[in-house]
């Protein structure tokens, strides 16, 4: 008597492909924001043929279908609340909002401005595996810059610490 992993998994596969496409695109991303301060040694823009992106290529490159590419998700690491019963800025019913959060600085292509984004986890319920999983790291920093670190459970300071999903909330303009 055990789980039968099936169609649901198909959907998970879909999520993986999205994640792959994101990886492939990120490797070729032009938008290298100097303000964030990272100095890298190159910024070549050709989409590379990677050993690991064969499925990305096989799956096509329909960017419009990938919710992770929405501009305000530029430093998100998590399952989207908008596909878990919540929205871009609201946690699903019956969950709680993380008391603490990490922040990102994302460029809004509509007005060309940089915005400060608060990434809050929603807490206290299981994650929803059919929701899109996004792993974007613009401006992300290790744990010694905790407020910019996304590899941590931001439900940690809540009474209910289980990770449920993540929202991306515009806090205001970044300077």
């Amino acid at each position: 008597m055990t789980r039968i992993f099936d169609r649901f998994i198909k959907r998970l596969e879909g999520a993986s492909e999205k994640h792959l496409r994101v990886s492939a695109r990120k490797l070729g991303r032009r938008s290298f924001i100097a303000q964030a301060g990272t100095v890298l040694m190159g910024s070549a823009v050709a989409l590379p043929v990677l050993p690991f992106d064969r499925r990305a290529h096989a799956a096509g490159t329909d960017e419009g279908s990938d919710p992770c590419t929405y501009w305000r998700h530029c430093a998100i690491d998590g399952f989207l609340c908008e596909e878990s019963g919540g929205s871009l800025t609201s946690c699903p019913p019956g969950s709680s909002v993380s008391a603490v959060s990490w922040v990102g600085t994302c460029n809004n292509p509509e007005d060309g401005k940089d915005y400060l984004i608060s990434y809050n986890d929603c807490c206290g319920k299981p994650l929803v595996p059919t929701a899109s999983y996004c792993y974007m790291n613009k401006g992300e920093r290790p744990g010694y810059r905790m407020g910019l670190y996304n590899d941590v459970n931001w439900c940690m300071a809540n009474t209910d610490k289980g990770y449920h999903c993540t929202v991306s909330v515009v806090m205001g303009l970044a300077d």
């Binding site: 019913p93 019956g94 959060s101 922040v103 809050n120 319920k125 407020g147 205001g172 970044a174």
Partner: protein, 378 residues
């Protein structure tokens, strides 16, 4: 612990390289919690978990859009209250996830806000079994939960909902299930000797002597499924071969009021929650599969048959979609929902011409990894 998230974010921003420049023309967005699911009809689907949580997903029935979820423990069971306002769940929490102390927990969830209204622990003898309708039920007046135990010795735990604790454990050796009678504090259980036995108890936990039916079925030759469907005064059961029994539990001991074979050669019932009775159409829906053999009694449904209990005839046969369970909504014109063995769900309209013909209205291929049981809030 509940700092304002905005404040908290700002505090942490002190560490960020880009300072926060407040532009009066830009209004910060408000971070909220969706207060409740939509006002439309919903399907609640339990995703059975043996290790870890058994989540319950809440879907809009029109498009199977996910509106929210609930987390329970391992070996989750669920039951929607008759007024559709409370979802009861029963599940186990192991202190070390796959070992350690077991806590069996009853949760009462608000079916609209998906918030927890209450939880309390009950006897850890609770059966660690696949989600099924026979193991978690409410007594007629809703005062007591009836919980199947298995250690593997079987008993029924009567849980006092007002007090939020166990009232009495009733030994039911060799029997399974706890379907409540229509009135009073009593339930019936199906036993390995082919009899159905009625147990009554008082609100202070006194248990009367069990009242046994005559032998109803032959558990060796043609066992009945423990999933039953209430149809008016009777509970309906079917056997592996397709024999139907209507059992009235109102009297001293359960009695068969009707029994007949509804199948035909080459077809047999199968599944988990394989029956659903539509009181509007007065039809019993049964999951059926073809070419039955020993061991095929859990096969996914190939057809869903509609049986008229008055005429004892199969009045309609509809194509199924691999269902392991079917569930009827309430209302004047109930809808039938199926969950399939591939993790999908299906909504059917029931013809109102007495044939019980089903028309598939919409489906989702992925409502859960291992959906075992479902319920509607309408």
């Amino acid at each position: 612990m509940k700092l304002s998230p905005v404040l908290a974010a700002l505090l942490l921003c002190a560490a960020a390289p880009g300072a926060f420049a407040q532009d009066t023309s830009i209004k910060p967005e408000k971070l909220t919690i969706r207060p409740h699911i939509s006002d439309g009809p919903h399907l609640f689907v339990l995703d059975f978990g043996m290790n870890g949580s058994s989540p319950i997903y809440v879907y809009d029935t029109k498009d199977f859009k996910l509106e929210g979820s609930i987390g329970t423990g391992s070996f989750g069971q669920m039951l929607m209250s008759p007024d559709k306002k409370t979802l009861y769940t029963a599940s186990d929490y192991l202190s070390r996830y796959t070992y350690g102390t077991v806590e069996a927990v009853i949760h009462e969830w608000d079916a609209y806000t998906l918030e927890k209204k209450r939880e309390f622990t009950i006897s850890p003898k609770m059966a660690q079994t696949i989600s099924q309708t026979s193991v978690l039920n409410l007594t007629s007046d809703g005062d007591f939960l009836l919980v199947q135990n298995a250690t593997p010795a079987t008993s029924i735990n009567v849980v006092d909902l007002k007090a939020g604790k166990d009232l009495v454990e009733i030994p039911t050796p060799g029997c399974w299930g706890d379907y409540p009678t229509l009135k009073g504090n009593a339930f019936t259980t199906i036993c390995g000797d082919g009899k159905i036995v009625k147990y009554s108890f008082t609100a202070d936990g006194k248990v009367a002597d069990p009242a046994k039916s005559a032998q109803i079925f032959d558990p060796d030759k043609d066992p009945i499924f423990t999933h039953g469907a209430r149809a008016g005064k009777d509970m309906i059961y079917v056997s592996y071969s397709g024999h139907l029994y209507a059992v009235d539990g109102a009297g001293d001991a359960p009695v068969v009021t009707k029994d007949f074979a509804f199948g035909e050669a080459g077809w047999a019932p199968s599944g988990n929650a394989l029956l659903a009775y539509d009181p509007a159409a007065k039809l019993l829906f049964v999951q059926m599969h073809s070419n039955p053999s020993d061991g095929s009694h859990k096969n996914p449904a190939e057809e869903i048959w509609a049986v008229n209990l008055e005429t004892e005839k199969v009045v309609g046969r509809s194509k199924a979609n691999g269902e392991t369970g079917i569930f009827l909504s309430g209302g004047d014109t109930p809808e039938l929902f199926g969950i399939d063995y591939m993790g999908g769900a299906h909504r059917y309209e029931i013809a109102n011409d007495g044939t019980g013909k089903l028309t598939l209205k919409n489906s989702s291929e992925h409502v859960a990894i291992f959906p075992t049981i479902a319920a509607t809030d309408f």
